[in-house]
C-alpha cells in the first residue's frame, strides 16, 4: 500500500508496543504523508494491518484534529488563535491570509495549494503570534512576514 520505506517504518513501529493498535496514530501520519489526507482505502488498510475494526480506526481519525478525511491543501497555513496569540494580533493574520489567497477560513485555494486554518494553542505562546505551515513553525509573525512565507511557497 505504501512505499517500501514507509512499510518498513510501520514494521518497526509495531516493535514499540505490546499491542498493534497502539501504532495507529503514527501510522495515520504515514497515510497522510502518502495521500495528503486519510482516504477510505487507508482506513481499511490500517485496520487490517493493525488488527483493528474499520470503525475503530475511523473513530480515532475523527477524534484527532491533525488528521483529515477530506483533501486539504498541499500547505496547511495554521494560525494559532488561542489567548497569547489572540492578544498579539492572530485574528489580523488569519484575515490577511484569507484576503491574500482569496479563500475562506478552512477552505482550500482552487489550485489545491493552500488551506487557511485557525488552530488552538500550538505551544509557542512566548513567541506569539505563531503560524505553522504543515509541521514548520514560524514565530512572531506579522502580515509582512506571512506574505514572504506564502510567496516563497507559491
Amino acid at each position: 500500500m505504501y512505499s517500501e520505506a514507509n512499510e518498513n517504518k510501520i514494521d518497526e513501529l509495531l516493535t514499540h508496543y505490546p499491542v498493534k493498535r497502539s501504532a495507529v496514530l503514527p501510522v495515520l501520519y504515514i497515510a497522510q504523508e502518502e495521500h495528503g489526507y486519510v482516504t477510505d482505502e487507508d482506513v481499511k488498510y490500517i485496520a487490517r494491518r493493525l488488527d483493528m475494526r474499520v470503525n475503530e480506526v475511523e473513530e480515532v481519525v475523527t477524534f484527532y484534529t491533525m488528521y483529515s478525511r477530506k483533501p486539504v491543501g498541499k500547505y496547511k497555513l495554521q494560525v494559532c488563535r488561542t489567548i497569547s496569540c489572540q492578544i498579539l494580533g492572530a485574528e489580523a493574520i488569519t484575515e490577511h491570509l484569507c484576503r491574500k489567497l482569496g479563500t475562506g477560513l478552512g477552505e482550500t485555494t482552487s489550485d489545491g495549494k493552500f488551506t487557511v486554518m485557525e488552530v488552538e494553542c500550538l505551544g509557542y505562546c512566548d513567541l506569539a503570534p505563531v503560524l505553522q505551515v504543515n509541521f514548520d513553525y514560524h514565530e512572531q509573525v506579522d502580515t509582512a512576514r506571512v506574505d514572504k512565507i506564502v510567496d516563497e511557497l507559491v
Binding site: 499491542v19 497502539s22 475503530e56 473513530e59 484527532y64 484534529t65 512566548d126 505553522q132
Partner: protein, 427 residues
C-alpha cells in the same frame, strides 16, 4: 541563582549531541543511581526534594512513585507527558529541543527506581521536529549503552520510544493520554484505580510531565535536600515559567519557587510593552483563575502563594495582559478553546462548554440579555466539580474568576432595554 533545568539552554541545541551533554555533566546522575543507589533510595531522595508535578496538578512526585506496587504480574511503565497544550505554556518545548538527554536521563532514573523496562514519551503531534530531536538523542543513548540490554552492567534492559499525539488537548490528562497511547480516542478513565496501580496496558504506570522528569538528574546528583532548599519549604526547587503576552521580553524563565511574580514581570521580563499598564495576569496556564494587577504585587511564584491570591501555579504559563485588553474577549477566546477541546465523554463538560460559548457569542455581538453575566456564572458552576475529568473545571474557573474580577468588561456586552426598544422600532 542556581539553575537546575536551563543550564544548557545557552548552548541553543548543541547539547542535543550526547558528547556535549556528557561533557557538561550529563549521565553522571544515571551512573550514580545505577551504581550507588537502590531503587528505594532513589524514590526516597525524590520524596525529600519536595518535587511536585510540573504539568499542572502539582502532585508530590515521590509520593506518586511510591504508589506503584513493588511486585506486579504485568509490566510496569514510565510515561512522559510531553503533550504540552495548555494555553500560555511552552516550557517543555525548550527543555526537549535544547536538552533532550536530560529528559532521557531523568526517565531512565525513574524507570530504574520503579523497575520498568519500557518507557514512552507521548509528545504532541505539532512538535514533530522535537520528536525527531528526541529520536536522534535516543539513538545516541542506545549506541552508548544507556539504553538497551544490560545498561551500565546492571543486567537490566531499558527501552524508550517517542509516540506522537495528533492534536487533542485532552490527551494531556494522564488517563486520556494512556488511552491515546493504546490507540484509542483520548477519553479519560475513571479513577481509581489510578495509573500507578492500573495504567498503560493494565500495568502499573507512572505518568510525569517533562519538566518533572528533567529535574530528577539534578536531584540525584545533588541530593533531595539541596533541591528542596532552592525553593520554599512546601514547594521545593526551581520552576520554569513561560511568560507571554504584552511583555518586553517574553520567554522561558527558570526561577526558584517563591520568587516574586512582580520581579519576574518587571525586572526579568522588562515590564509591560509600549509603556502600558498591567491589567491582569493568568498565572499558571489558561485553566487557572485570572488575577488582577494588584494581586500580582503580593504574589509569590510557588503553589501556596498563588493559592493565597485565589489562583493556581498550574503549568507555569504566565499570560500578561495590558490595560488595552478586554477580559470579556480573552475569556470568550478561552471558552471557544475548551468547547473545542472537550472530548465529549461527559455531559456537564460537553454541553456546558457549548452553552457557555453560545452565551459568549451573543454577548460578543453586543446582544447580551440582562442576566446573561449571571447566567455565565451559573453555567460555569454547573460544570465545576461535576465533570468526569478536570477539563470541565478548567473551562469553568477562568469564566467565574473573570466575571468576579472584571465584571465591567462583561456588563458592557449587555444590551439595555432602551437600545432594544430603539432597535425594534427600527425593524
Amino acid at each position: 541563582m542556581t539553575k537546575v533545568l536551563t543550564t544548557r539552554f545557552d548552548l541553543k541545541g548543541e547539547a542535543c549531541d550526547i558528547d556535549v551533554y556528557i561533557k557538561t555533566g550529563g549521565y553522571a546522575a544515571l551512573e550514580k543511581a545505577f551504581r550507588e543507589m537502590t531503587p528505594e533510595a532513589v524514590i526516597e531522595e525524590v520524596k525529600k526534594s519536595a518535587l511536585r508535578g510540573r504539568g499542572g496538578a502539582g502532585f508530590p512526585t515521590g509520593m506518586k512513585w511510591s504508589f506503584v506496587p513493588k511486585e506486579s504480574k504485568r509490566p510496569k511503565y514510565v510515561v512522559c507527558n510531553a503533550d504540552e497544550s495548555e494555553p500560555g505554556t511552552g516550557k517543555d518545548r525548550d527543555l526537549m529541543r535544547w536538552d533532550p538527554h536530560m529528559l532521557i536521563e531523568g526517565m531512565l532514573i525513574t524507570a530504574y527506581a520503579l523497575n520498568a523496562r519500557d518507557s514512552y514519551i507521548y509528545i504532541r503531534g505539532e512538535y514533530w521536529y522535537i520528536k525527531e530531536i528526541l529520536e536522534r538523542a535516543i539513538a545516541q543513548a542506545y549506541e552508548r549503552g544507556y539504553l538497551g540490554k544490560n545498561v551500565l552492567g546492571s543486567g537490566r534492559e531499558f527501552n524508550l520510544y517517542v509516540h506522537p499525539g495528533a492534536g487533542a488537548y485532552i490527551c494531556g490528562e494522564e488517563t486520556a493520554l494512556l488511552e491515546s497511547l493504546e490507540g484509542k480516542r483520548g477519553h479519560p478513565r475513571l479513577k481509581p484505580p489510578f495509573p500507578a496501580v492500573v495504567g498503560l496496558y493494565g500495568g502499573p504506570t507512572v505518568v510525569n510531565n517533562v519538566e518533572t522528569l528533567a529535574a530528577v538528574p539534578w536531584i540525584i546528583s545533588n541530593g533531595g535536600d539541596a533541591y528542596r532548599a532552592l525553593g520554599t519549604e512546601k514547594s521545593g526547587g526551581t520552576k520554569l515559567f513561560t511568560v507571554s503576552g504584552h511583555i518586553v521580553r517574553p520567554g522561558n524563565y527558570e526561577v526558584p519557587m517563591g520568587y516574586p511574580m512582580s520581579k519576574l514581570i518587571y525586572e526579568d521580563c522588562g515590564g509591560i510593552r509600549n509603556g502600558k499598564k498591567l491589567k491582569a495576569v493568568i498565572p499558571g496556564g489558561s485553566s487557572v483563575p485570572i488575577i488582577t494587577a494588584e494581586e500580582v504585587e503580593k504574589c509569590g511564584l510557588d503553589y501556596e502563594s498563588v493559592a493565597a491570591v485565589g489562583s493556581m501555579l498550574g503549568s507555569g504559563g504566565v499570560i500578561v495582559m495590558d490595560e488595552t485588553v478586554d477580559i470579556f474577549e480573552t475569556t470568550r477566546n478561552l471558552t471557544h478553546f475548551y468547547h473545542h477541546e472537550s472530548c465529549g465523554w461527559c455531559t456537564p463538560c460537553r454541553e456546558g462548554t457549548r452553552w457557555l460559548q453560545k452565551v459568549f457569542e451573543r454577548m460578543h455581538r453586543y446582544e447580551g440579555r440582562p442576566g446573561d453575566v449571571e447566567l455565565l456564572h451559573e453555567l460555569a458552576d454547573k460544570i465545576l466539580g461535576k465533570s468526569f475529568c478536570p477539563l470541565g473545571d478548567a473551562a469553568a474557573m477562568p469564566v467565574q474568576s473573570a466575571i468576579d474580577k472584571f465584571r465591567e468588561d462583561f456588563d458592557r456586552r449587555i444590551k439595555h432595554d432602551l437600545v432594544q426598544i430603539k432597535m425594534h422600532a427600527a425593524d
